[in-house]
């Protein structure tokens, strides 16, 4: 590799390098932060992400291939990185008070989140199955640890252990698929695979390889039949980490899925039938099982499974609109899901966990403003206009119908009617029950800021979706 090419590569991966360096510095400097000064950690972490955001935006103009075709900084990656930045910054803001209450406010917490962010960024930019694997592992290893961060809680430990074991299996499956691809085509680069497949498009072994790779990726986004870990991990992990995982790593998984599915190899293999089945099954399981949940975090876990199913419908649709619809869906989902998690996190105060749905009974009576915000997030998750959640679903359906998959669109809307039930059930508890207790939500300025940003996104994108839609559509090309 020549010096010029190396320089180009460094430039293309500048955001990743910045975040990793920032995380390393924080890891050392964090040891010197005294108790009571954790604010410094939050602000330093936020600053790292903001600097990375700036460098990403500066690089977003053109596609820059780097590291001999293993990595690319293009608009597609930039779009996803912005979703990750959003998720990470909001998680930082939410974590400050929550970490105090739970006693997890050490610098490692923030550093691990930054490393996980790096992994997600690499996944979004990776154009080689091996670099995808590196990013994936970096991300999941950090989230394993973060899941178990409540060391004294059995639930948290159990969740982490479960996550590690199942995650390792799925990684193995993914790697096996990669090795098959390498054996059949002689390369692990997505482009190279595309070239190889044009010569012999109907090799059954390739289909098998694709199935393995898909299985590994589907695990990361929590789709059926690899969804079993999601409820336990979401319930056991610290709520801030759950909020982060439900948005960031999930979006990263979709970034890789889209990258792989843009690839003619997969397009040629008729794998969309499998994907369509996965989408239907995922939405069905998520929606129906959520109906009987009493724990809010578990409910949101199944809701996130259902949403993953809906986004996979966009993958099934494929084409420019299909890909853009998934991207827009994930952006909107980031806003509304972080919003509802912010509400759950804010309820955690003193001995009150706010994890049981019935805990919210009569919340609308005493805190009408906060209840209204929750109402907005919940209706947005249910996909009722004029919220952003509706537009996200609408665009996925448009992409489906455009490709002629009307039956799938009908299945999708019927299942989302089922899903609407459990969201409005929470609204019912908030507004139509008598309060059982006095609420003291932990409302710090940082939590307020998070609520404001997410509410603005949820309503704003719903009312004026044109700009965001254009952004997603432009980001498709170049990938």
């Amino acid at each position: 590799m020549t010096a010029a090419a190396l320089l180009q590569s460094v430039l293309a991966s500048l955001p990743e390098i910045l975040v990793v360096s920032g995380a390393c510095i924080l890891l050392i400097a964090g040891q010197f932060v005294r108790k009571g000064q954790e604010d410094l950690l939050v602000w330093a972490s936020v600053a790292v992400v903001l600097i990375a955001t700036l460098s990403t935006l500066m690089l977003a103009g053109e596609a820059r291939p780097a590291y001999a075709g293993m990595f690319v900084a293009d608009r597609f990656a930039a779009f996803f990185k912005c979703v990750f930045y959003l998720a990470t910054v909001l998680t930082f803001l939410l974590s400050r008070k929550y970490a105090d209450i739970e006693g997890i406010g050490s610098s490692e917490y923030y550093v691990l989140l930054l490393f996980a962010l790096t992994g997600m960024m690499i996944m979004a930019s990776a154009t080689d199955l091996l670099s995808i694997f590196v990013g994936l592992e970096l991300m999941v290893l950090c989230t394993y640890v973060l899941t178990g961060f409540l060391r004294r809680e059995r639930r948290s430990n159990e969740a982490a252990l479960k996550y590690v074991i199942l995650g390792a299996v799925s990684t193995g499956i993914f790697l096996y698929g990669v090795s098959l691809v390498y054996g059949l085509t002689g390369t692990t680069q997505l482009d190279g695979m595309a070239r190889a497949v044009t010569e012999d498009p109907l090799d059954p072994a390739l289909l098998l390889a694709v199935v393995f790779i898909v299985a590994g990726l589907v695990f990361k986004v929590g789709a059926v039949p690899f969804h079993m870990w999601v409820p336990d991990v979401y319930e056991g992990a610290p709520t801030t980490v759950t909020a982060f995982m439900s948005v960031g790593p999930k979006a990263a998984g979709f970034a890789v899925i889209l990258r792989v599915f843009l690839n003619p190899l997969v397009q040629a293999s008729d794998a969309w039938i499998i994907v369509a089945l996965i989408a239907v099954a995922t939405m069905a399981v998520g929606s129906f099982v959520a109906l009987v949940q009493d724990n809010f975090k578990r409910l949101l876990a199944y809701s996130s499974i259902a949403h993953a199913g809906f986004a996979i419908f966009g993958v099934v649709a494929g084409g420019a609109d299909g890909i853009a619809s998934v991207m827009l869906y994930l952006l909107i989902y980031a806003f509304m899901n972080l919003g509802i998690f912010a509400a759950v996190i804010m309820m955690r105060n003193g001995d009150f966990s706010g994890e049981v749905i019935d805990d919210y009974a009569g919340f609308g009576k005493s805190h009408s403003g906060l209840a209204l915000l929750m109402l907005i997030y919940l209706f947005s998750l249910a996909g009722i206009p004029p919220t952003a959640g509706f537009f996200a679903k609408f665009y996925v359906l448009t992409a489906l119908v455009e490709r002629g998959f009307v039956v799938l669109a009908v299945i999708a809307v019927l299942l989302s009617a089922v899903a609407a039930y459990f969201y409005i059930r929470v609204v019912m508890v908030i507004y139509m029950r008598e309060p059982q207790r006095v609420f003291e939500p932990a409302l710090t300025p940082l939590v307020r800021a998070t609520l404001a940003v997410t509410a603005l996104g949820t309503i704003g994108i719903g009312l004026f979706p044109a700009w965001f839609l254009g952004l997603a559509q432009q980001s498709v090309f170049g990938g």
Binding site: V406, M432, P465, A466, L469
Partner: protein
């Protein structure tokens, strides 16, 4: 640049809702809500005054790009049909505020905010000229209505609110898929007028017809998807019932008029017999159900199903009399049934019972109340001289022309109407005044009278001199018939 009158009409109540959020005093909330709805009504009257009845073209149109990449525009406009319902919605808006003045005594602010948001969305539905915009208004209504029923309703309110929400949502979502299919079939536009001009192949029309039918039939409601209505009506607070009966039910029928008939004319003609049969079924079945009720609100609710059957019968007769009668009947039903729900609400506030058996001899206790009740009861059973007579007569003549058998069934329904309404009136108003012993009933007060009088005026006005009302819709209905039957063969 002219004044965007329709945008003002649609968003004024929403602005009112936003203002209300910052108030703390319940009385201030009531008065300001009343002020906004009255102002909105004044604007609607101004719109009607400036309305040109000689043309079927859309008037007061506004168009702005919204999501250009998908061909979505913010487009508003009214023709004769929608103008009538904009007026009706604006009228019932402030009547609802008055009806909830004393009836809603907790979370007044939240209630009025929901009520005003609801009104903005309903007006939006009738004004929208873009299918996407229409859908946004249509679906967003679920949120405030769910809250109105679920928070301020009766004992079974939670169940009723869920049932209302899920029924309507399931219907609407299939409609959404239909809308998207229509978008691609009609050349990637959501412009309602442009889509109306498209000539779609019959099999596409058929599929879309049924996708739309599910959504609209749930809203109307037509038998067999009517079961949410009695629950919702009985549990909803008075204002909620008035909105449900007065405006929400109209939206299903409005959907047929705005989408099914002009966009899917071949399918509408082909399936008109099916629709007539369903309408006749609703008329008779709803009538029999009403006959068997011992709860005042349930009785009026089931009578709604029967009366909305007349509306759809008139619409799918697909001739001039039927359509004009159907549309006029939509307006009449809004006024009359809205008034009946108001009356049930008024008496319920005083006695806290809706059971017919608890009442008797009200005439001696509350003469003004019973006099007006008589007027609206007679109007509901379509006595000559009242509004419904004109409407039902037109529907029946149109219905007989289309199908004598279903016309005859409708006549049976009208007879049933006389039976249950007169029976109800006799048990409640006449007889010995034994209710006085149990309840301290006072007659209607000034505020209530203000809410009642305009409705009474419209009952008699339409009944005695319906020409101005038919004049508003005439040009649009004739144009609609041309769209359905093609230029050559207008009956």
């Amino acid at each position: 640049m002219t004044l965007p009158l329709l945008s003002l009409i649609v968003f004024l109540p929403a602005a009112g809702a936003a203002v209300l959020m910052f108030l703390r005093n319940d009385d201030a909330v009531r008065w300001i809500a009343l002020g906004f709805t009255l102002l909105d009504f004044a604007l609607a009257v101004a719109m009607l005054v400036g309305f040109d009845t000689t043309t079927h073209e859309m008037q007061f149109t506004e168009t702005r790009p919204w999501v250009p990449a998908l061909g979505i525009t913010y487009a508003l406009g009214v023709d004769g049909i929608s103008a009538l319902f904009v007026f009706l919605s604006a009228l019932l808006g402030w009547i609802c505020v008055l009806a909830s003045w004393a009836a809603i005594d907790r979370k007044v602010k939240e209630f009025m905010v929901s009520l005003l948001s609801m009104q903005a969305l309903m007006l939006g539905v009738f004004c929208a000229l873009d299918l996407f915009l229409f859908y946004v208004f249509w679906e967003a209504m679920l949120i405030p209505m769910y809250l109105i029923i679920g928070v301020w309703g009766g004992e079974g309110r939670v169940y009723a609110a869920f049932k209302f929400f899920l029924y309507t949502l399931a219907g609407s979502l299939l409609f959404l898929v239909g809308v998207i299919v229509l978008y691609f079939q009609g050349g990637q536009t959501f412009d309602i007028l442009a889509l109306t001009a498209r000539d779609l192949p019959f099999h596409v029309q058929s599929w879309l017809f049924f996708a739309f039918l599910i959504a609209f039939a749930v809203k109307v409601p037509m038998v067999p998807v009517h079961t949410w209505l009695p629950d919702a009506h009985v549990q909803a607070p008075t204002a909620g019932s008035i909105i449900l009966a007065g405006v929400l039910l109209k939206m299903g029928a409005y959907g047929f008029l705005r989408f099914s008939l002009p966009m899917l004319p071949d399918a509408s003609l082909y399936y008109s017999t099916l629709m007539l049969a369903l309408s006749a079924l609703a008329i008779v079945y709803g009538g029999f159900l009403a006959l068997a009720q011992d709860d005042l609100k349930k009785l009026v609710a089931y009578s709604s199903i029967s009366h909305m059957g007349f509306v759809t019968l008139g619409i799918f007769a697909l001739n001039l009399r039927g359509l004009e009668g159907g549309i006029l009947q939509m307006f009449n039903h809004g006024v009359t049934t809205g008034a009946l729900f108001l009356f049930v609400g008024l008496i319920y506030e005083r006695t806290h019972t809706r059971s017919i058996a608890d009442y008797g001899g009200l005439m001696k206790v509350a003469p003004v109340y019973t006099a007006f009740l008589a007027l609206f009861t007679l109007s509901s059973m379509a006595l000559p001289g009242t509004n419904s007579f004109v409407g039902e007569l037109l529907v029946l003549t149109g219905g007989f022309a289309a199908s004598p058998a279903f016309g005859a069934a409708a006549v049976l329904g009208a007879l049933l109407g006389a039976a249950y309404l007169l029976g109800m009136y006799r048990k409640v108003a006449l007889g010995p005044a034994d209710a006085r012993a149990r309840f301290k009933i006072h007659d209607v007060n000034g505020r209530e009278l203000v809410a009642i009088l305009p409705l009474a005026v419209f009952v008699l006005w339409v009944g005695l001199y319906p020409k101005p009302f038919l004049g508003i819709i005439d040009a649009s209905v004739k144009h609609l018939l041309v769209q359905v039957h093609g230029n050559g063969s207008s009956p």
